[in-house]
């Protein structure tokens, strides 16, 4: 028996063989990318598996009772917020990119600072400000008296307001970048032909900006679809909130998974439509034509108008919430309630966000690099699959990751592993997309040059590829860091026992109406984001100068 065994050629075990075949087909890079995408898809598998257990009657009940209302609520909110962000984002970007006025640099900052404030903080602060004894409520009563009721934030209008001021910065960032890169000669030609400035904007700028606007609005819509903070505070029933209630009020996992499934399909349809519409919109400007844009100086009345508009935006999107936070933080300092535990929450938050951002960019790299190399159907589908995190609500991702870790990696349970995995899965799309964008400058010839000069693949990676995309990497890190710092629903479920972060504390103190404790936490969150934003803005400026 043993002699027979001896004479047979070594046959590797089946998993090893599959691995070898795969390695030959897609390469090592492809294999690593595959592994990462599989892990990123864990929550999706969880949703598909759980919704598969939903009975036909269960589906019918969802279909007839829940879905029409939820669909209408969610889609109408997405459209309204998109309109809101379009108006705020495009107008501010155009004014700042096309006019020279006093305090222009400050204005840029003011337009991106709202990114530092999470939606649940906006919602929490504005519900207080809009009360009869809140700042806005009192102002309203002194102007309108009892004739016109104070607007009710617990409505689609209120949620639209909150999500618009919280999200327009994405549109602003992308549209401004596009405007700074774009060629002014087209606008000048149109002006010479006698079009008014407004007509130039409408007929020349807007069509040219379509890709940037679409990308910005897509980001906004995805945030709306997955937002938990604002809709739960304002009790506006979107898919995300409804899924959460289904899980938590009724302990109905299958129903929640069924709803999640519909949401996933909805979001994917949207993503595919968005990619398709963008793919048909490409404008090229030849390099020889481009030159330095000399901004037109704004006249005095124009400056006044510009600052009126930007001031109005920033008042609501940043200044008022900030003043409120500072006011209550001072109160907390007076009452001396900020103790050692508070600084513990701060460091917990920073550690988790930094670790998640670092992990996310490491993990995103093979996926983005694989796509940059291959540009195949497989690599494109990997990019799309890695955006699961944007498409599923936070609580669902958390439960999916929790089930996975307990079933497969249970020795890791109890520490930060589950939380970090959920955060990485959730924000992987941000990291993948910014790295993908950065890798677009990497043409095969650059890599080949490195190889010809004698660098091995690893040295090439270290000395050619990574330095070329370092700016993209840093932007990716910052984006993930900011979002991970603000993340609430997954952190609430997955944080290790007794490990509280700033968002968790804000949520707890806000629900206990301890404003003097919620405010300093929110303020620290904003302050913690500032260095990251500064880093990102510096890199953005460099990339504009370089190109």
């Amino acid at each position: 028996m043993s002699s027979l065994n001896y004479s047979l050629p070594e046959e590797p075990a089946l998993p090893v063989r599959i691995w070898q075949i795969l390695a030959r087909k897609v390469g090592w890079l492809g294999l690593i990318a595959t592994g990462i995408v599989v892990i990123a898809a864990v929550p999706l598998v969880f949703v598909i598996y759980s919704s598969g257990q939903l009975s036909l009657a269960g589906w019918q009940a969802l279909w007839s009772e829940r879905l029409p209302g939820l669909m209408w609520n969610t889609l109408s909110l997405a459209v309204l917020v998109a309109v809101g962000c379009f108006i705020l984002g495009v107008s501010s970007a155009w004014l700042i990119a096309r006019r020279h006025f006093m305090g222009r640099k400050l204005a840029i900052w003011l337009m991106i600072l709202p990114l530092a404030i999470p939606t649940y903080v906006f919602a929490h602060i504005y519900t207080i400000l809009f009360e009869e004894d809140g700042w806005i409520g009192r102002f309203w009563l002194s102007v309108f008296g009892d004739r016109i009721a104070i607007p009710d934030l617990y409505s689609i209008g209120g949620v639209t307001f909150i999500l618009s001021i919280a999200g327009f910065s994405y549109v602003f960032l992308l549209v401004r970048a596009a405007l700074e890169h774009s060629n002014p000669s087209l606008e000048e030609a149109a002006r010479i032909q006698g079009l008014s400035p407004f007509a130039v904007f409408w007929r020349v700028n807007l069509p040219l900006l379509r890709p940037a606007i679409a990308a910005g609005l897509a980001l906004v819509v995805l945030h709306v679809l997955s937002d938990f903070g604002a809709v739960s505070m304002l009790r506006y029933q979107t898919f995300t909130l409804s899924i959460y209630l289904q899980m938590n009020g009724r302990f109905d996992y299958q129903g929640a998974a069924g709803l999640s499934m519909v949401l996933v399909l909805l979001s994917f349809t949207f993503l595919i439509f968005e990619r398709w519409s963008r793919s048909r919109q490409r404008y090229f400007a030849s390099a020889t034509q481009s030159r330095r844009v000399r901004l037109r100086k704004a006249t005095m009345p124009e400056q006044l108008m510009i600052w009126l508009w930007l001031g109005l935006i920033t008042t609501f999107a940043f200044a008022l919430p900030m003043l409120w936070m500072i006011d209550w933080t001072l109160e907390a300092v007076r009452e001396d309630v900020i103790d050692a535990a508070f600084w513990g929450y701060v460091s917990n938050s920073l550690i988790v966000a930094a670790a998640a951002a670092t992990l996310a960019i490491i993990v995103a790299f093979p996926v983005a690099f694989f796509h940059a190399r291959k540009q195949s159907t497989l690599s494109t589908s990997y990019i799309q699959l890695s955006s699961i995190g944007f498409v599923l609500p936070g609580p669902v991702i958390a439960l999916g990751v929790l089930s996975f870790i307990l079933a497969v990696l249970s020795p890791l349970y109890g520490g930060l592993a589950a939380l970090l995995m959920a955060l990485v899965v959730r924000f992987l799309p941000l990291a993948v997309q910014s790295q993908e964008a950065a890798l677009q400058h990497l043409t095969p010839s650059i890599e080949q040059a490195g190889r010809i000069l004698g660098a091995g693949p690893l040295e090439n990676l270290r000395r050619v590829v990574l330095p070329m995309m370092s700016n993209g990497m840093i932007v990716a890190w910052v984006l993930v860091f900011i979002d991970a710092l603000k993340e609430l629903p997954a952190t609430l479920i997955l944080r290790p026992t007794g490990f509280d972060t700033l968002p968790v504390r804000i949520w707890i103190e806000a629900s206990e109406e301890s404003l003097e404790l919620a405010a300093p936490a929110a303020l620290m969150l904003v302050l913690g984001t500032l260095p990251a934003l500064w880093l990102m803005m510096r890199k953005e400026k460099q990339s504009i100068i370089n190109s």
Partner: protein, 337 residues
């Protein structure tokens, strides 16, 4: 670039170290708590001072914590679970997430405030009552919660939205004390009366009634005393609904505690429960939030109508869990906002 990677690796290393630092030590209890921190922390601090047993409080929404317990199964680090709502405790029992508490410890708590099998025990109770503005006119006819549907209260009524746990628990009690059809009609009437303005918090209801914006509100009793403690001259009073011979009585709900099925520290966990139901612990509960101590013989704060001095609905607290989904279905059917 090199620095960049180095700092990344350092970050991960730090994280792993931190993760191992939070692992639980022996003389330590982990409590998943759905109760407000400030009402439970004073008790826990006293307990730790007396026994030397450290308690880690892991706060979140009760329902989310139940989900967590359920998914974690025997991997959970939780030794105890605290909720503000008997419904959640009973649902936890039904999902067999808990284990019975030794009988002699919880004997001091009446039967209707704990689980049949002793798998959870109530600690402090609260009553669903009316808060009424002293100057409100034409309010004398309101004797029962069902009168809140009377058209005469149009735009004068303040209630919370229907995803509020106390609201749901109240509706369950009314549903079991009368019948579903009556409750459906009642909800429709209240929806009409409350108009579009529903309240997100009970404290805001009391504030609105005190300022005269609304005449009457349905709240948990302690919110009235919390408001009065800050504004002693507020023109509000408490009104106990559904009294008298034919009345169904006031709806109660309890906050309570349970021992996780998979804890390895049952004896330690029971020490905490024994402290919570002791005279001293119960007096602290009464003091922290003007609630009714669950233990017979410990009285509530002076200003609160004494337990036993009025009629309470004859619904055992476990029913709040058993019948919760029915209540949610009714609320959905009416489209209660």
């Amino acid at each position: 670039m090199k620095k960049f990677w180095q700092s990344g690796l350092m970050g991960i290393l730090l994280t792993v170290m931190l993760a191992s630092a939070v692992t639980v030590q022996a003389e330590e209890l982990v409590v998943y708590s759905g109760r407000k921190d400030k009402f439970i922390k004073p008790l826990i601090e006293k307990f730790t001072a007396q026994t030397g047993i450290k308690v880690v409080l892991h706060s979140a929404k009760s329902t989310a914590l139940l989900n967590k317990l359920r998914i974690e199964g025997n991997r959970t680090v939780a030794d105890l679970f605290i909720s503000n709502d008997a419904g959640n405790l009973q649902i936890g029992s039904q999902l067999s997430l808990f284990q019975p508490i030794s009988k002699e410890i919880i004997d001091v708590i009446p039967d209707n405030l704990k689980a049949d099998d002793g798998s959870w025990v109530g600690l402090s109770a609260r009553a669903r009552v009316f808060v009424v503005n002293d100057k409100a006119k034409d309010i004398g006819f309101v004797k029962s919660v069902f009168d809140l549907a009377d058209p005469r209260l149009k735009d004068r009524l303040a209630i919370t939205h229907s995803s509020n746990g106390s609201f749901i628990a109240g509706v369950t009690v009314y549903q079991l004390s009368t019948n579903k059809d009556k409750v459906v009609d009642w909800l429709k009437g209240m929806k009409e009366n409350a108009g579009s303005k529903l309240f997100s918090k009970h404290s805001k209801i009391v504030k609105a009634v005190a300022s005269g914006k609304k005449d009457i509100g349905l709240v948990n009793h302690y919110y009235i005393y919390r408001h009065l403690a800050k504004n002693p001259d507020a023109p509000i009073r408490i009104l106990l609904p559904d009294q008298g011979e034919a009345g169904m009585g006031v709806a109660w709900n309890v906050a309570g505690i349970a021992v996780s099925k998979h804890t390895k520290k049952k004896a330690l966990a029971e020490k905490l429960i024994a402290y919570f139901v002791s005279k001293e612990g119960q007096e602290l509960f009464a003091g922290a939030n003007s609630e009714y101590p669950a233990r017979v013989g410990v009285s509530a704060a002076k200003e609160v109508p004494a337990a036993g001095s009025y009629k309470v609905a004859d619904v055992p607290m476990r029913a709040l869990g058993v019948h919760r989904v029915e209540t949610l279905d009714i609320l959905d059917k009416v489209g209660m906002p």
